[in-house]
Subunit: 127 residues, 4 copies
DNA sequence: GTGGTCTAGACCACA
DNA sequence: GTGGTCTAGACCACT
């Protein structure tokens, strides 16, 4: 059972106007995609996380369940929650993030009638 | 007599899981940025719009209020609502959209530890 | 907005030893598959259901959210929850139920070393 | 000297999201019904099993207790645990498995308003 | 009115 | 110890 660092409030940047669990999912997902959280690593327990992040345990549970639906973490009953060892799932997730980001930009470009190059140039213009 | 634009339900692509007014704002904003809705064009009244789009009048009101806050439309009491003739406001809005799209991509790249080029390549990979 | 009958406690057969929301999902899913709940029908609201079934609103919400993940119902913000009009999703769900049932029987047969016919005969034997 | 069966991790297919002891019971029960584990065969001790399967000893205890409750295994104090030699108990268990599998299919069929034949045909349909 | 999020706290099964 | 379910009740945004 590999060691696990407990989260601190500095590990997350939270926007109080958006659902907390959603932001936790996004940011933990990024940590896994980045490799900062390695396959097989045990995540801090629901209660521990709730205490250290000062949120309700059910909020953490919702976060973990969502990550499990994304196949990024696995729960072993009575033992805890672990980053999946299926590296394929992690690769897929990372690719999904990349595709979504690019697609979003393409859609913005199209919606305002610009090519990607034009959008890029416009964003870079000073003033 | 300014041109007038009447909406039909086909003018918008709506996702029921997101706030409708937000989607209307985004899509009308894009139409203005694209020039598809020209400066000075008169928009249909709140009641008309609500009827033709089959949504609640308050949803349309919120949409128009938000677009007014962005200085993209102006309301002349008793006369109606018009796309602004301040081309500067439209340019600014278009630029904001471009900057936001690029920034969003940069943040995704950073969050998963890739450069923009790597993110781009990953999104383009087949399979 | 089509009418909707409110659930009564007789609409569900509940086993207290299993998660309630899971049983609600199964049984509502069956009602949709069976055509008893037609496409476009509005489901009773979360609060109303909670009151009539004597359960907590969050339990009903979990039920509805799970059904939404199965693409069997759709939520329109501020308006309520409706059986999907995508008949394809309903067909798919119905087929999944059938496949699961058959597969489960095949696996049982295989696990005890019988053919389907033998399993069937054995189940039918009297005494 | 009775034959003895030692488990390896490959003897079981485990789904971490379900209780482990339950899955052990099901699968050992099937092995006995199938005749793969013969009457009189000695099972390894709780501690041995826990070690070879890498699970908690209490999980194995619960498994053995449940199998004993089903009269499929018997424990002789100080001598060990053995597959029952009461062939009647094994027959009964095999039949219960068959009945349960058929009943489950019948209930699925009924719940979605199909006959068994229709359910079967639906499950077999291509696409 | 609708659904959605969050909290606080109880209770349970599993390992 | 772990996660999972359920309750009661507050508060919010959207229509």
């Amino acid at each position: 059972m590999p060691p696990i660092r407990t989260w601190t409030m500095d590990d997350f940047r939270l926007d109080p106007s958006r659902p907390l669990y959603e932001q936790f999912v996004e940011q933990i997902r990024a940590m896994i995609a980045k490799g900062e959280l390695e396959p097989g690593t045990r995540l801090p327990s629901v209660r521990e996380t709730a205490a250290s992040l000062r949120v309700n345990p059910t909020t953490v549970m919702k976060t973990y369940q969502e990550l499990e639906r994304l196949s990024l973490i696995v729960t072993y009953r009575g033992q805890g929650t672990f980053v999946t060892e299926e590296e394929e799932a992690i690769r897929r997730s990372r690719k999904e993030l990349a595709v979504a980001a690019v697609r979003q930009m393409e859609e913005t470009a199209k919606s305002i009638g610009l090519t990607l190059e034009q959008l890029w140039a416009l964003a870079r213009e000073k003033e």
